[in-house]
């Protein structure tokens, strides 16, 4: 009885007043909209990070839950930084990072430059080039081990066909000197399209009027390329390098499936090494310190790089 009379009053109330009563204020709505995302990120990203930092000062091991956990200060950090093997994995990572970035920038930019000539059907062919980067790196990486098989593998056959070498005379993932290149080739195959798309966005953002002005001034095509195209695409290119750099520093799935870090440990990138320490040797405290060092490295390098990027943009 009471409820229905309230309803009747509510119905009679002008809409604007109802809004003020029932509608949330903008401020409340803003918080309501942002809070769930922030809470989730805090729970799944920041809280674990803080926990990792705390664990990194202990000798905790997940597989020995009953052992006493001791705070051992900076000992884990000192052990890691003085470990020769870890410096070797850092070197392997640096080799992988530098070469993938160099190759992807060169090929990616060249492709973007060609696609920007706007030949017929460029849209469809761009999509076909993009396909590898949309696929699961683990599944594709696993199949590449088949392509890399000596004798029966398609890659070895193609190399043999083109160079005349015997396809069974080399093993891309079994040979110590070739394995680092095997992972670079697959990563470049997969991620060149990403650099290409960003370069393409850069090329398309250059107004035609600048080239027309240069043409009026009788600047050669070569000169236009070096004084207009390159400087204007550079900020885009640097952004692509940043993204690829961060991604490849974290590289795990593709390489784990391709080589598993072997032969020996020549392709053991830091993430793979970290996984071994944390989930095979179960040295949780030690691995946590390792994780913190990696995160600080990425974050530090990325920050310095972003500063440089902003300088280039302002020019």
């Amino acid at each position: 009885m009471l409820q229905s009379s309230v309803d009747r009053v509510a119905e009679a109330t002008p809409h604007a007043i109802a809004r003020r009563m029932h509608g949330l204020s903008d401020r409340a709505l803003a918080w309501l909209f942002v809070a769930p995302s922030i809470v989730l990120l805090l729970a799944v990203n920041i809280f674990p990070l803080i926990w990792t930092i705390r664990l990194s000062f202990t000798n905790f091991r997940v597989n020995r839950p009953n052992a006493e956990v001791e705070f051992i200060g900076l000992k884990n950090y000192l052990n890691i930084l003085s470990d020769r093997d870890i410096w070797l994995t850092m070197q392997a990572t640096a080799h992988f990072l530098i070469w993938t970035i160099v190759l992807q920038v060169l090929i990616g930019f060249a492709l973007a430059f060609l696609i920007n000539k706007k030949f017929r059907g460029n849209d469809l062919w761009t999509t076909i080039i993009v396909l590898p980067m949309m696929l699961s790196p683990a599944v594709v990486g696993n199949f590449w081990t088949f392509l890399y098989q000596p004798q029966i593998g398609l890659f070895n056959y193609a190399v043999g066909f083109l160079t005349g070498a015997d396809p069974s005379s080399f093993s891309m993932i079994g040979d110590v000197s070739l394995a680092p290149w095997a992972i670079i080739i697959v990563d470049t195959w997969m991620w060149t399209p990403f650099v290409m798309l960003i370069c393409l966005a850069g090329l398309r953002s250059i107004p035609a009027s600048i080239y027309e002005a240069a043409e009026c001034d009788r600047a050669s095509k070569w000169r236009q390329f070096w004084t207009i195209t390159i400087p204007l695409v550079l900020p885009f290119l640097m952004l692509a390098v940043l993204f690829r750099g961060i991604e490849n520093f974290k590289m795990f799935d593709l390489v784990v499936q391709l080589t598993g870090g072997g032969p020996g440990s020549v392709t053991e990138l830091t993430s793979i090494n970290l996984k071994r320490e944390a989930f095979e040797k179960w040295r949780t405290g030690y691995a946590s310190a390792y994780a913190v060092i990696l995160f600080v490295t990425v974050f530090g390098l990325a920050s310095i790089y972003v500063k440089a990027l902003n300088k280039v943009k302002q020019r």
Binding site: V44, N122, V140
Partner: protein, 313 residues
Amino acid sequence: MSSYSVTEPSLRQKWCAGVLVVLYALITILPLVWIIATSFKTPSDAIAYPPKTFFTPTVEGYVNVFTTRTRLTEEQLQAVGEPQTWYDRLVRKDGLVISGPSRFAERFTNSVIIGFGSTVLCIVLGTAAAYAFSRFKVPLKDDLLFFILSTRMMPPIAVAIPIFLMFRSLGLSDTHAGMILLYTAVNLSLSVWLLKGFIDEIPIEYEEAALIDGYTRFQAFYKVVLPQAATGIASTAIFCLIFAWNEYAFAVLLTSGNAQTAPPFIPTIIGVSGQDWPAVAAGATLFLVPVMVFTILLRKHLLRGITFGAVRK
């Protein structure tokens, strides 16, 4: 040529560029074509030398990826009796019988559940947050946005240790709910940044008109902004879905029996005698082809989306 422009490439330039790009494209899809081709080969065709381009197609690989088989002796085979179905007959040629379904269908279903679940959650949370960042004065807005972006810099393995411990104590390890939450968190940064870009483009005047007409702020968001942002939301959703679909590191570390997705499973497929490449290729084909089709069909929106997150900042 209707009009001459100095910036329009000549026909010869277009031809050269076209030929080079098509050549690169053909080389780059060769491994993918090879996966699909291998899935229709017999194991002996798959490992033939020189690699076989022409072969009689068979669906043996597909049968093998969905089943487990055992090798029986002659007497045992006779005791089992004649094969009943076409797939029984197919494996019987090699002296095998199907002993049961493999776990592939289960893993594939897990991928679908976790992929779609995390995408829906990610879009709901991401759209709300992106709208708030786009339209309201949120305190510390730039810091929060940078914080959201920075969560992407962490190597998955680095946070995997405490997440592993956390999930174990909350009973979330190896569950669908746990993986959905995790993938949502990982994708949220991308989703918020992309969606904020799309919502920024919708003129604010639309909502102001709606507010004057007596809509509440929430109604204006729901009835005016959401339909306008539909395309952007759809392409963001596809990115989130593809990422969750492809993710491997967390899946391999945090799931084992119950909630394991397809990427950690496919590489572990082995045959009765050694690595069964056609079966691996069949599993990979079933897993990869939907993404390829999606990419080709939706290329206009996707290509924009890839550069969008990177370029609009």
